[in-house]
Symmetry: C2
Subunit: 553 residues, 2 copies
């Protein structure tokens, strides 16, 4: 039984000081629940890394306490790391129907579908996990079936906003349940964790429905063109609005791109997409229709090189070729870092004669300042923890909360791994758990560390020189070689003089070792490296990785 005086622990393992990889543990005595379990995309300097997942060490060390994972919605940055967690521990998953549907796609891919317990929870429903009572509050986001969470603990009530916006006229479902936030606020909320993504933007985020009107205009003004719309596969409501316009303007719809096909199938099956039965056609059937009878919906709105739209733009798509007069709509905003690749796709589309619209056909899924203020005002928490944002967003959100009346000392800007302990009397940081990001490269989880990344960085900027030389046993006397292999430094056939000069530098360095009677291989290697490195820097102002390989005869 809970002792009256225990505190609740809030332990974020990601989602702070970064966009993505959202995951937070809530712990009360010997009960832990995990809220969300997302991935992050690799930073530019994480060369060759496929994705980034949280460090599960703390959860593994406390696996007996874990009652389950509670999901707020079905986006990758909230569910993407689940397979990696589930390979470490078999814990039950709770989420709304669409969320669990999207999780199941993942479980199938990772062969976890048979072993994983999962439970569909309705918006508005409450579940009990150990000491925690969790209400799934209906919310709005850029994916249907999103929820905020009211987590009732013996130490008090915690509200977690999840990712949210306030959409008074959502495409699917209803407006976020503001009354429930108000009721909890009235009751007294211990702590509020709130989405900070758009906290720098004044005003309100527009309703998703405004995008539908923009689509109608585009369909109406381009009646003779084939229309191609690229958007996020996960934005089921956006897809629904393309369908709505297509129905209105009597066009058949082709779905392109693996994730788009997956999400459309799942959402259709579960009733989140309403598609007239004869409307979807296969890409192979397109030839039976005129351009003005077709709309293609595809992935690739972020310029991802392997996605359908990018492949069409660069003439690498097997079945769809862009032609003059095509109307292409990028229904999204570039995520920071993707601006250049998106721009490249747009240029390639123009070059093929397509018309391209890439503005005013997107709204954010995250609340702006006025919406955030509204939720704060309804919830009126004692403690506030800004989440889901880079450091600058967390700071801005903290300032906003202070303006709204939260005491400065009751606002906690956490780092991943911090342990925050709270009850009605007091709150504060009490320790740390491991929370370094874990890098996934192919099948390797965590096996690419800083040394490997540093080598990749070095190789990517300067390439590599391998020196192979055979020496007489116990001496620096050259028996054969030196040979030089270059990769990513210069193309040897076009730099013959440089390579010949480099060989002379190596011979000279070895001669010096010989004359000084240096026979230790590691010292010979160092001498050889230093001499060559200095020579190449002088000649080229470049600094390739140098790997000497010495054979002994």
């Amino acid at each position: 039984m809970a002792k009256e005086n225990s505190k609740v622990k809030i332990i974020p393992l990601g989602g702070l000081e970064q966009i993505g990889m959202n995951i937070t543990a809530f712990e009360y005595e010997d009960n832990i629940i995990i809220v969300d379990c997302g991935i992050a995309f690799p930073e530019d300097e994480m060369l060759g890394i496929d994705l980034v997942i949280p460090d599960f060490t703390y959860l593994k060390n406390n696996v007996d306490k874990i009652k389950g994972v509670v999901l707020t919605h079905g986006h990758e940055d909230h569910i993407g790391s689940l397979p990696y967690l589930l390979k470490e521990m078999n814990v039950p998953i709770y989420g709304t129907k669409l969320t669990i549907g999207l999780v199941e796609n993942k479980l199938k891919e990772h062969n976890l579908i048979k072993t994983t317990r999962r439970k569909v929870v309705k918006q508005g429903q409450t579940i009990v996990l150990g000491n925690f009572k969790i209400e799934f509050i209906r919310s709005n986001h850029s994916i249907a079936d999103a929820v905020a969470l009211a987590i009732t603990t013996p130490a008090g009530i915690i509200i977690h906003s999840g990712d949210f916006k306030i959409d008074y006229t959502p495409v699917f479902g209803e407006v976020i349940n503001l009354q429930r936030f108000a009721e909890y606020g009235k009751k007294g909320v211990l702590a509020f964790l709130c989405d900070s993504t758009n906290v720098e933007r004044p005003g309100y985020t527009m309703s998703e429905k405004t995008v539908g009107k923009a689509f109608d205009n585009i369909f109406s003004e381009n009646r003779r063109s084939r229309i191609i719309i690229a958007t996020f596969a996960s934005n089921v409501d956006r897809v629904q609005q393309v369908i709505n316009s297509a129905v209105k303007f009597k066009r058949k719809m082709v779905v392109e791109g693996r994730s788009m096909i997956n999400v459309v199938n799942t959402a259709k099956e579960l009733g989140y997409l309403k598609i007239p039965s004869d409307m979807l056609i296969d890409v192979e059937e397109m030839k039976n229709y005129r351009d003005d009878q077709i709309v293609i919906i595809s992935t690739g709105s972020q310029g991802e090189p392997m996605a359908a739209l990018s492949r069409m733009a660069s003439n690498n798509h097997r079945r769809i070729t862009i032609k003059p007069g095509d109307m292409v709509v990028l229904s999204s905003t570039p995520i920071p870092g993707n601006e250049k690749t998106v721009s490249r796709v747009i240029n390639e589309l123009f070059r093929k004669g397509a018309k391209v619209i890439f503005q005013d056909t997107h709204v954010s899924g995250h609340a702006c300042q006025e919406e955030i203020k509204l939720l704060h005002t309804l919830v009126k928490p004692k403690y506030f923890i800004p989440v889901h944002g880079e450091y600058r967003h967390l700071i801005k959100h903290a300032e906003l909360a202070e303006d709204l009346g939260v005491k400065k000392d009751n606002i906690f800007i956490l780092s991943p791994g911090d342990i925050l302990e709270l009850d009605n009397e007091s709150g504060g940081l009490t320790g740390r758990v491991p929370a370094e990001a874990v890098l996934v490269d192919g099948l390797g989880v965590g096996d690419v560390g800083n040394i490997v990344l540093r080598d990749r960085q070095h190789l990517s900027q300067n390439g590599l020189i391998i020196v192979v030389v055979t020496l007489r046993k116990h001496s620096a006397e050259v028996v054969a070689g030196p040979d030089i292999i270059s990769r990513g430094f210069v193309y040897v056939r076009e730099s013959e003089t440089l390579i010949e000069d480099a060989k002379n530098v190596i011979r000279e360095a070895l001669n010096q070792c010989l004359s000084k009677n240096i026979t230790d291989w590691s010292r010979i290697k160092t001498a050889l490296k230093d001499a060559l490195s200095e020579f190449l820097w002088k000649q080229t102002k470049r600094n390739p990785m140098i790997l000497p390989i010495i054979m002994e005869l």
Copy 2:
């Protein structure tokens, strides 16, 4: 003498289908002038490349015709490649005072100052170069002393806008000379080349002076803070406005960052910056002043890792440490591709307790749609060539020109290397010259080609495995090894099993060669590579570069 019926050739060698590397040759019979000679910054996939310059082949092959290089202003994307051109040919340079001053800094760096002829031309002045008469028309841009060019040729008048905006209240000098454009338009303009950078933006670009007002507000509202303002070094007018606010609010100014110091010195010497004599202080003197008596102006507004502001933000600046309460202003907008690095710097500044302003303290140096329309309307050209823009900008600008009355057939969207021939009767493409971008890496100009870049790409994503094995002469019999060296693939000490298994795979592959009596080294290498590659892909889903090195005993 010019024959009555010759056409003028316009040959862009860069600046089209890209932002940067502006350079165009104008040729009439045996006369060539070059307008601008800029660099571009490397694309993301150009790993390790420092900068990108034009291909000068055509100019080298026609060096006897070249009368000189005419510069429109002193930005890197218009003057940066000059040293590389001047190393190939000694041709005279013409530009306004500030432009030539900035060129001279470059000439000194490259040891070209003694040999290079250069001539300062005033705004409004006309020079004659062979068959060409060139008027330097006063213009506005984000650097002082910018000009547009009116190039009178025997085939007709060509107007080149350079980079421009219309600033009715410029910080330095006067408004762009709209009358001269009008007079030439009245006379009859054969061809118009016009800046397309901001053609997607409706309306007008704000006057540079509006930034001065924003600075005054910041100084006024942060009277107790130290103020640090980062901006482009080349934006002399912006620097002047920082000075103006500093004078008004009685602060001393510290200049930080190599390029900022260079430009401030040059601009001060040449009279483009007005700085009260006692106002500039050395960074070492800062300690003698209170925070509210100091403003620091620095480089790094684009988050460049080695620039002054980035080093301050990451605690790597030798003499300036960010402290709580500092007011940092990023007076610029991230250039596409720099969003994430700028964001990182902002986060680091917040983390050090600084306040950061990164919006509403910048205006563009390029004309928006309404300004572009005005220039078109004054110039009224027969032929139009959109320049300075990505493909999408050129297309948009062509559409705009058509709306304004230029005949569709008289609009030419050129690619670098196209030869466009024009006279009053007709115009069209007549050929191509080499115009591939040339990559500069350290001292190497053009020695890093596609093979080297592909290797760098491969190495950066997957790293490298070197297999060293000694075989019996004329056989695949192993005498010593195999040894495996990994760089950027896995850290060998943490992946011992994988490496041991890989060695067994190699032994097995060699045994098979032995049993099949394969003795040809290149076949043995291929067999070894294939076996190892397949094994590693199966084990790790990664694809490192594999380099087998066989020694013979």
